[in-house]
């Protein structure tokens, strides 16, 4: 395994702000403790990214008021919401499986919120119709949810949440219930709607692609704590935990740098382009790895490790090889190359990586 351990959370500096979201969510539930600071400016889309069971949904429920806070605080546009019941919070939620009311038409589902917030029946319906129109669903207003497709239901759910004009929009795995084809299309639409949304949007997902495409900023949560926070490109380039590294498809190691050499705890060394000192992360993509059956001579690569094939997996027209030995490495190669090398589990191989392909940054 790599030497990477979850870094201590390094939240961005936050003070009391009078617009947008300023929250520190602490929820104790038996042995599980969620402790997530979260801030966002109006117009910003923040994704809570993390593996299943990390506490993302709990954080979302706490924001919505469906789970009580055990500690911390929750302010939205300068207003304390800790003790406000869910129905009085200016918060809209798109649930994972949408939870459209099955006995109401699409129009009445969307009109439900405005009605509850005091609009008359006719006015609520007019507003609902406008929202459905914006979502491109004007022709489906009289349809019951069970007759909507997954993508349509998702848009009705979004319209329903937006129709109450929330100051905080929460989306729980907004694309998880969709099949791959619909997902692509809905993701693009959702991105457009979120871009138009002028208040804070927080979405929860375990899918890095959804998070990267939809969010301006990612907050990575593991075991109830924030392990990393930053822009999608920032996080993709500088993963700080195995989980993120795997999500973004990088080999990640933690060690101590002295000049161009990073010594890992296992004793192996990696030569890097950057010149650093002290604790660092080193990352390189699987595609940067070249495999050889015999010890290469005359390779310009500065890193050479003797490894063994642990497993092989086909990804499209590529083969992902998991290596053990000097250090655990994921390597991508073409099927042709794999056949030529006669790779099979247990086979000894030499792996080379150019120093310029690695990326080191302070831990």
């Amino acid at each position: 395994m790599t030497d990477a351990t979850p870094a201590a959370s390094a939240p961005a500096p936050r003070g009391a702000r009078d617009d947008g979201l300023d929250a520190h969510l602490i929820v104790d539930r038996g042995s599980f403790r969620l402790d997530v600071p979260l801030t966002a400016a109006p117009g910003e889309v923040v994704a809570l990214l993390g593996p299943n069971g990390a506490g993302k949904t709990t954080a979302l429920r706490a924001l919505a008021g469906l789970a009580p806070l055990s500690g911390g605080h929750l302010r939205l546009d300068g207003r304390e919401l800790d003790r406000t019941p869910p129905e009085s919070r200016p918060v809209g939620v798109v649930f994972q499986d949408y939870l459209l009311f099955p006995h109401l038409t699409a129009l009445d589902n969307v009109a439900f919120g405005p009605r509850c917030r005091g609009a008359g029946r006719a006015e609520a319906r007019t507003r609902a119709a406008a929202w459905l129109d914006r979502m491109g669903l004007a022709g489906h207003s009289g349809v019951k949810p069970r007759r909507l497709s997954g993508g349509q239901a998702q848009r009705v759910a979004l319209a329903r949440a937006l129709a109450t004009l929330p100051r905080l929009l929460l989306l729980d795995e907004p694309l998880a219930a969709l099949d791959a084809r619909t997902r692509l299309e809905v993701r693009a639409q959702l991105r457009r709607h979120l871009a138009e949304f002028e208040a804070v949007a927080v979405l929860v997902t375990h899918d890095p692609l959804d998070a990267m495409v939809l969010a301006d900023r990612l907050v990575v949560v593991e075991h109830g704590r924030v392990v990393q926070e930053g822009t999608p490109s920032d996080i993709a380039r500088h993963p700080r935990t195995d989980y993120i590294a795997r999500l973004v498809g990088l080999n990640l190691y933690r060690g101590r740098a002295e000049g161009h050499t990073v010594r890992l705890d296992s004793g192996s060394e990696i030569t890097t382009a950057e010149e650093l000192s002290g604790p660092v992360f080193v990352a390189f993509p699987p595609g940067a790895v070249t495999l050889h059956r015999d010890r290469p001579t005359g390779s310009s690569a500065r890193n050479l490790w003797h490894c063994a094939i642990e497993g092989l997996e086909i990804h499209g027209d590529q083969i992902r090889a998991d290596l053990t030995g000097a250090l655990p490495i994921a390597a991508d190669l073409t099927t042709a190359a794999a056949a030529e090398l006669d790779l099979h589990p247990g086979a000894p191989v030499w792996a080379t990586v150019k120093a310029t392909q690695t990326h080191a940054y302070p831990a």
Binding site: P86, L99, F101
Partner: protein, 281 residues
Amino acid sequence: MTPPRPTGTATVLPGGPRRGRPRTGVPLPLLLPALAGLAFLVLPLAALLVRAPWSSLPEQLTSPEVWQALRLSLVCATSATALSLVVGVPLAWLLARTDFPGRGLVRALVTLPLVLPPVVGGVALLLALGRNGIVGRWLDAWFGVTLPFTTAGVILAETFVAMPFLVITVEGTLRAADRRYEEAAQTLGASRFTAFRRVTLPLIAPGVAAGAVLAWARALGEFGATITFAGNFPGRTQTMPLAVYLALQNDPAAAIALSLVLLAVSVAVLAGLRDRWTNAS
């Protein structure tokens, strides 16, 4: 061995020798007890039909007393069902959706009227709501209301016996229903009550209807608690079951005739309602 077939039905039982179709039907160990159970339930009703005094039936059924008792039965059973709905559905919600100390005990208390002999229920109602009862004496003193020997008393007695059926059915439906719809409604600005009224209630409507029909049927057949609490006076507290019981004392033929009327009306109502929900859902 061939499975016995109910006579007089045109249904071909699955599993019969029908052109070599695979035997996908009802397994015999289920079919036989099921038919035995059906026969056991239907046989007494059949006996009632066989022994009915058909020749004197028209005469029996034209007596105003019969219609008076039937009308009273329907009015009281329907009122008792309405009363059960008004207080029973919230009670079921409380049992299904909230957590309070002693909830298990409360649930046991709610089901108590199911196991209590109705006559005992009637006595208990007298001790509670009678003219001299622990609450009834104050009703009498403050409002001049006495419940025994009144139609209201019949409705209360029937409600006491019938409401547990509704509460249990609705509670079960509520437990099976997805609570997250209520949460979704709350995030849209609905108070818990609005969420219940506009989302939960429509979602559990079939369960509420089933509970109401059970309660109605139970109330319609109620005898023991009614006669004990409300007495027996034609047109005021004499429902069909009371009329049947008293007719049985010296005119069994009349009793059978009355029973048939009650039976026919309840079958008509129940069958009608059942069709309506199955079509609706």
